[in-house]
Symmetry: none
Subunit: 221 residues, 4 copies
DNA sequence: AATGAATGAGAGTTCATTCAT
DNA sequence: AATGAATGAACTCTCATTCAT
């Protein structure tokens, strides 16, 4: 249908986000809220649509089914988190690195990440069914982080591990898992600061040669 | 009234409870299977009853609602696992312990545990809703294991941690989490043996003083 | 099975009530309680049996189905009530009657009757389904009472009604209905005494010739 | 935006609500039929939906649960009945009233009302469970009618009752109860006309001073 | 006679999804 | 594109009744 009203003055458009792009994100945000509040099963498509201020019909114009929102949501959150952590690590690649400091930034970033929308996090990663796509997304992200960590470990002479690749993965998984638990369910009355320090200690001891003079040839990949 | 029929052959008594007990366990086992195959949401009460070879009515004679089976299932699995690991650790309390060997047994036991019914494990701990009772059960178990670990750590002079209680919890949580992931989703093509060794290494380095001569007074709780 | 233990001394038996008669009444009483507390639909046969201290199986040995208890219960209550009111009225037949006093006794008796087990009454007569048998029972009772009333009215020269039979039925129905409502749901804050007086007034005015000297030939059936 | 299409013929608007309104009434009517035929317990929501020509889902879009239809049904019937009777009585307030004639119209209206859908009436008021809302509705209606009657009685000098308010309530309750019974279960083979006359006689004698010259100051509220 | 575990049809209700408007 | 009424399969759970013991 021709837009009669489009005039010369009709220039002020946000070129980056089309209308549908906006609607899509409104729905996604609504889903985030609804899932946080009601959980996955009780987070019905009608509720999501209502919260987004659109009709169910519109919902299904943007997402083929309920699971699709879940996937989109996980991807958006994972990618966002991934970007922030990735940039943190990437900065370290190729420079002289203080491993302990880097680990501290890393763990801190993970805690921040998990602390951002903890309820949503719980729903997304603990309650909702995990279709293979989701898993793929999470695994890829982890893979990417582990890959970056591998580069970092390899440039540190004092790192002592039998298999740097495995070590890199363990660092990522371990931090993820412990952080997740800590943020969601706490650990006694341990303060966040102490928690971070303890994990940093753990990781440092794992990765660092405590006795540099003896064992020199450190990394074997 | 005199019991005339009581004879030496009167062995075949069906103890009133045994039938019910059997049915209950049949249902529980059926639920384990159905949840494993279909997931929690699609593991309907009718399907469970059918698999158990009883009617839905019977199901509801033994469990007040669907969630109750979930709880019963988790409790049975967690308690069983807990018993085996606890006995392993308890044996070490009060004896001269080779920490690394103990950690190896511990990690191995955890791998075995998670490897027993991995699909069920996934459903129980990742997919299904976690009513507070469930969480309580899991936390208590973890607490118990951490407590035992604390005893062990405290009797080892070479253990060097700032807070033995936190360390004990981290040991349990970390092993649980990494093992869970490894069994369910694997880690590259890492063999189970190598995985275990790496985790043992990680834990050993975390807990053990690598340079015993220098720092002697190790534990401060 | 022969009762070996029955001896010469076994004389002390209550001959009026056999064992099963007792059980039957225990169940009936249990049903009355359960229906009162839970209503008809939620007054399950299992609950009734349990309350009676017998098994469901036994319940079905005494009653062919749930409705049968209802019927038995209504019959027992209706007959009991009927007996007391009937005797009250019968005493008046053939004697010189003070109509107003008789009405007062009658209404009072009805209030007492309805006030005895009001909850049960509500369930029995308002909530539960009324199989034709039930209805029959109630109608017959009413018929009997109306019949007695008819006799009474006919022997009272001052009673002025066009159709004594209809009047007799109205007296019974009206008293029943108003009493029922009053006991179950009250009428403002009217005291029971005042309620009775008002109904007596109502009935007296209906039945009595206020101006005896003018209209003499009163009853035509 | 200019509405080009708005023309004189733009009559065919389907007011957004009309469709829903129709569906709602279709369901209500279907419920009335189904309850009449099957009773409350056997009048299942699926049957109602089917009879209404809609799906169960639609049923639950209009009513939160089964009881809600019952309440809606009672309210619709009671309000309708109430309106017709109220208007009848209201017309009499403030005018010179022939009490007997008014009572005759009143009783006749009640008979008509109860005779309209007697089966439904039975289900609604005898068989179905009465949630408090229902009771409230019925009581309010009765209260309103009694209130109007009170006004009428107070303007009639020949009315002789000790408590006009109570009398008004008795008039309403009594007529309701007797009519209900008569329509549902009959009274011998009494014709409707004779029944009405008898009730009118009863009420007239109750309310009217048979000997106007003697007791003049009649009402004390 | 008594038991009570077992039955299973069927109830009320939900919600992802469709489609006429 | 958008709407939201309509759909209906599928779910959890109940309870009158049966029957092996």
């Amino acid at each position: 249908m021709a837009r009669k009203t489009s005039t010369v003055f009709d220039v002020r458009r946000t070129p980056t986000q089309s209308r549908s792009q906006v609607t899509l994100e409104v729905i996604l945000e609504a889903a985030a809220q609804v899932f946080s509040e009601h959980g996955y099963a009780a987070g019905t498509t009608n509720r999501i649509a209502q919260r987004a201020g659109v009709s169910v019909g519109s919902f299904y114009q943007y997402f083929p089914n309920k699971d699709a929102v879940l996937v989109a949501l996980v991807e958006s959150r994972v990618n966002a988190g991934m970007r922030s952590v990735e940039s943190l690590l990437s900065d370290a690649v190729g420079t002289e690195v203080d491993l302990e400091a880097l680990l501290r930034s890393f763990v801190t970033a993970m805690v921040t990440l998990h602390g951002h929308e903890p309820d949503l996090h719980r729903v997304l990663f603990e309650e909702a069914p995990h279709p293979p796509e989701l898993h793929e997304c999470v695994l890829q992200t982890e893979e990417a982080l582990a890959h970056t960590w591998l580069s970092i470990l390899q440039q540190l002479p004092r790192v002592v591990v039998s298999d740097a690749d495995t070590a890199a993965h363990l660092v990522v998984q371990l931090t993820e898992a412990l952080t997740h638990r800590f943020v969601l369910h706490g650990l006694h009355d341990l303060s966040t600061e102490k928690f971070i320090e303890e994990v940093v200690t753990l990781l440092t001891r794992y990765l660092m040669d405590p006795n540099p003079s003896i064992k020199t040839p450190s990394i074997q990949t």
